[in-house]
């Protein structure tokens, strides 16, 4: 009898477990739960995302947002298609790669109006004023990533043959750059650029950054993406999410909210000192919204088209994807 009761209890538990796994019981709270996959670990490049979360901007739109940090092994676009995420952050090259392979991804907003990717160099070692000055230099690039395409475009436009430059494979540490094996090294100007720049300057080094955008090469960086299905089936959800997110970014880069923005990032990034975070926020602001520039989240169609053209030119995609059609219209 005891065994029978035990079996019945076990069966009941199994049935409940099965029911819970197959039936979508919806969010436990009244808010709509959505999942948002970031491109990288939470740092200053995600300040608007964490600000919106910390300040309850998502909640005020009736959303409970699970912010998921990204990383090299994470791909927001794949997660959108597999249903593991509702929204995500991806760079333009990821979006264009995905479109070339038939992924139904759409771009909702462009977070970075200027690409933070630049090349750091020691002023006492090299003098780089134009891309033509790369001739004879050793330049760090991450083969397969967008900095490789940007560098190849710069060289082609400057008429520098690839044999005239030594491309050095970038790896996880900066030793080749510090030791002089590479003359230039790619960094994100608002994160590593600040941190390493401060350290080198404290050590008495004179450093500078080479900005590809200043020489006409515009390659779009982080943007907010979702699936075409969600956009067409739940437009109101997409609008609510986007409203809260862009409000978060708008407020986060407002100098009046500096301390709140720093506190939001510091919740996750405890290893970076407050001074460095402050300088990183300062460096992030003009990338998100320049004075007199377009609104936060503005999608620069011309820059997207240039990005696609560069990727085609260097064989990153084998067909045109007409990326303009996949960008959200204002």
């Amino acid at each position: 009898m005891g065994i029978l009761t035990g079996r019945k209890v076990l069966m009941a538990l199994l049935c409940i477990g099965l029911w819970l796994t197959v039936v979508d019981i919806g969010p436990l709270s009244a808010d709509q739960a959505v999942s948002y996959r970031l491109k990288w670990l939470i740092n200053m490049s995600t300040v608007g995302d964490v600000y919106a979360e910390a300040q309850g901007l998502f909640a005020s739109e009736g959303l409970t947002v699970a912010l998921k940090p990204g990383g090299p092994e994470r791909d927001a676009i794949r997660e959108l298609e597999l249903g593991h995420a509702d929204f995500g952050v991806a760079s333009a090259d990821q979006v264009i790669h995905a479109l070339a392979k038939g992924s139904p991804v759409v771009v909702l907003a462009q977070l970075f109006q200027a690409n933070p990717l630049q090349w750091i160099y020691f002023k006492d070692r090299v003098q780089i004023d134009t891309p033509a000055d790369f001739k004879g230099k050793t330049v760090g690039v991450t083969f397969g990533k967008n900095d490789e395409i940007i560098m190849r475009t710069l060289l082609a436009r400057a008429g520098v043959p690839e044999s005239g430059v030594r491309l050095y494979s970038v790896r996880l540490d900066y030793t080749p750059f510090f030791s002089g094996r590479a003359d230039l090294w790619p960094v994100y100007i608002n994160s590593q650029g600040v941190e390493i720049g401060q350290r080198l300057e404290a050590a008495g080094e004179r450093i500078a950054f080479f900005n590809p955008e200043a020489h006409g090469v515009r390659f779009v960086a982080n943007s907010v993406v979702t699936s075409e299905r969600l956009k067409s089936e739940r437009p109101e959800l997409v609008e609510r999410f986007l409203r809260a997110l862009l409000a978060g970014w708008q407020s986060a880069v407002d100098p009046a909210n500096t301390e709140t923005a720093l506190a939001a990032v510091r919740q996750y990034d405890r290893d970076t000192t407050l001074e460095v975070l402050r300088a990183q926020l300062e460096a992030t602001r003009p990338l998100i919204q320049s004075p007199g520039g377009p609104a936060v989240g503005y999608i620069d169609i011309a820059a997207w088209e240039q990005t696609e053209a560069m990727m085609r030119q260097y064989g990153q995609i084998d067909r045109a994807v007409d990326v303009g059609r996949r960008l959200r219209k204002p």
Binding site: I77, E81, H97, G102, S103
Partner: protein, 248 residues
Amino acid sequence: MLLRRIYQFLMIYLLGVLCLLVIKVAADLSDYVIPGIDALWLSVRDVGWRYVVDVLDTLRVAVIGQVLSIGMALFIGILGRQATWFGSFIKVAAYNVQAYPIVAIAPIIFILLGDGFVSRLLIAAMICYFPLLLSVVGIMSQPIPDVEHFYRQTGRMRWQLEVKIRSFENLSKLTTVIVGSATLAMAGTIVAEFIAASAGIGYSIRIALYQSDLAKILVALFMIGITLSIYQGILEWVGSAVKKVWAR
């Protein structure tokens, strides 16, 4: 033996690809998430030969790393086989070195030694050394009383003879361990290349990952699998040949 390993690998690989294709069709996924047959074929055409060269480069490092770790494991295993204080010290030291995960040590190795051949070799050797050591210590510490008794009673036992007896009696075990460690050496080299090197199939996988190109990764997995199967088949054949020669 060699053929069996190759067709077993082909079966497993094809089953894996088939499963992916079933998921692709069932869930209506794009080529970006799971590549179709045509995308796979295009990748084979684009990078197939390059990946063959890369995987052979990786295998070269893995084989040298494995030979080094076999030598190291035999040396430490023979030293540590005796139940003396020194034997125990050697074992504890060897175990402690292995307590640190290689991914934590790898960046230090790359910073100190650069991203060239030596770093890849060292990491490959470190990853496959410990399981080898455990087996060698186990085998070498286990007396073969039936055989050893005679030599001990007649006062003719020397350490070289003891090692020879124990190796011969456990040759099948040793061969299995060495064949298994080939996988670890290959995995170690690929991990090293993936983390920081600038050559080999691990490095190519990293680039494919940056490009979100699963088709290239599947091609790389095929190259790794088939190369490893052939290498393991050859090791097994060498092991059985050695046994035959020794048994004469």
